[in-house]
Symmetry: C2
Subunit: 226 residues, 2 copies
């Protein structure tokens, strides 16, 4: 594999629970990318998966506990958002009160800011999207639907989300769910270009594909699938 094409699927709507995401991906792939071919990997942003799965919450419906209120005051965050973050987390990993940053281990096992909850690209001033309950399961469902609809068996599906990284400036897209492919390529014990055995490198190809996909999606281009 030395040439790769990243195609952003255009013409997709603002998704909500009334949409069939897989059907619309297949239609958009046929109309804007010449269809889906064997070996393709489809990267879907977390936001649209959360939207079609109904993982959007209105902060007006949230009643923050005293703990959330106290933490929110220190962080300069909305107490209702902090309440949701705490509900979606198993552990607080780091609180940076000066910068208003709350890093937690989410109930899904991700170490990330705000348990992955955010408000970008969601209609309504008080609406936020939680992560899908089980992004691997979401990816499997999309995989199976697209296999059936596009009549292509050999496919990968990745759910991507935008994460910050310790010790690095800027955010990049990571994989939070994956189906139809291994998220890793293990180069251990393979032979490198000068004939030596590689010792340790396990490449997270799913994260690389997620990062690559962001190049075609952007944050505000309304291209949620690649």
């Amino acid at each position: 594999m030395s040439n790769i094409e990243i195609i952003g699927l255009t013409g997709l709507p603002e998704f909500d629970t009334s949409h069939n995401l897989s059907e619309m991906i297949v239609e958009a792939a046929f109309s804007s990318a010449g269809g889906i071919k064997s070996g393709d990997v489809i990267v879907v942003t977390q936001k649209v998966v959360s939207k079609v799965e109904g993982m959007v919450r209105d902060l007006l419906d949230i009643d923050p506990t005293p703990k959330a209120q106290k933490l929110a005051t220190k962080l300069g965050k909305d107490p209702r958002l902090v309440q949701l973050i705490l509900e979606q987390s198993t552990e607080i990993v780091r609180t940076d009160f000066e910068r208003g940053v709350l890093i937690t281990e989410s109930i899904h096992g991700f170490i990330c800011a705000n348990a992955g909850i955010d408000s970008s690209n969601i209609e309504g001033d008080t609406s936020v999207a939680l992560l899908p309950k089980d992004s691997d399961a979401s990816a499997r469902k999309i995989l199976n639907d697209i296999r059936r609809l596009a009549q292509v068996q050999s496919l990968g599906v990745i759910i991507s989300d935008t994460f910050g990284r310790p010790w690095r400036d800027g955010h990049v897209n990571f994989a939070i769910g994956c189906a139809g492919m291994s998220p890793y390529i293990d180069y251990k014990d393979t032979i490198d270009a000068v004939g030596q055995v590689l010792k340790v490198t396990t490449i997270c190809i799913a994260d690389e594909l997620a990062a690559a996909s962001e190049l075609a999606t952007g944050k505000s281009l309304n291209i949620p699938v690649v």
Copy 2:
């Protein structure tokens, strides 16, 4: 930007200090990728930059201090390698004796394993490659050379290296040097797809391009430029 093509440049040699890297990139781009176009980003792996810049060391030439010897014993690492790592670091960030992992802040400012020193894809059982002294300067040199040779002004050059990440399994490629382009896209204050102002997201497009490039280079395919 919604479609992106990643082309691995084939036919490049095992580089050493006798090679003109930029010339060979331009030749390979013309013979295997139809040339270099305005707006292209060229991603070069750290390993070949280190090789052409003479940043390869033979462990046989290294005389470890008692401090390096002591640390090496605890880590189960070669004391000469530990000596080099300490010389290339300003601070030890983490030592995991059980796993033999040494995370440092390198003299270049990267928080990574072994100050970025490694032995894959290098001829000789005792040879290791250090990071380029100044990867931004290396990228600028390659940028200027390629601009002149290929007669293309609007270009980006990224030097990539493979890093592990805290709290994530598997390695991915990061940018350690960049020229001709901003490493970041700042979406702050831009309007998202539902008309709201995005608040915080600065995307590290250089890291995403580096990660994307790895999909076409692999670890053992001898494709060091994308």
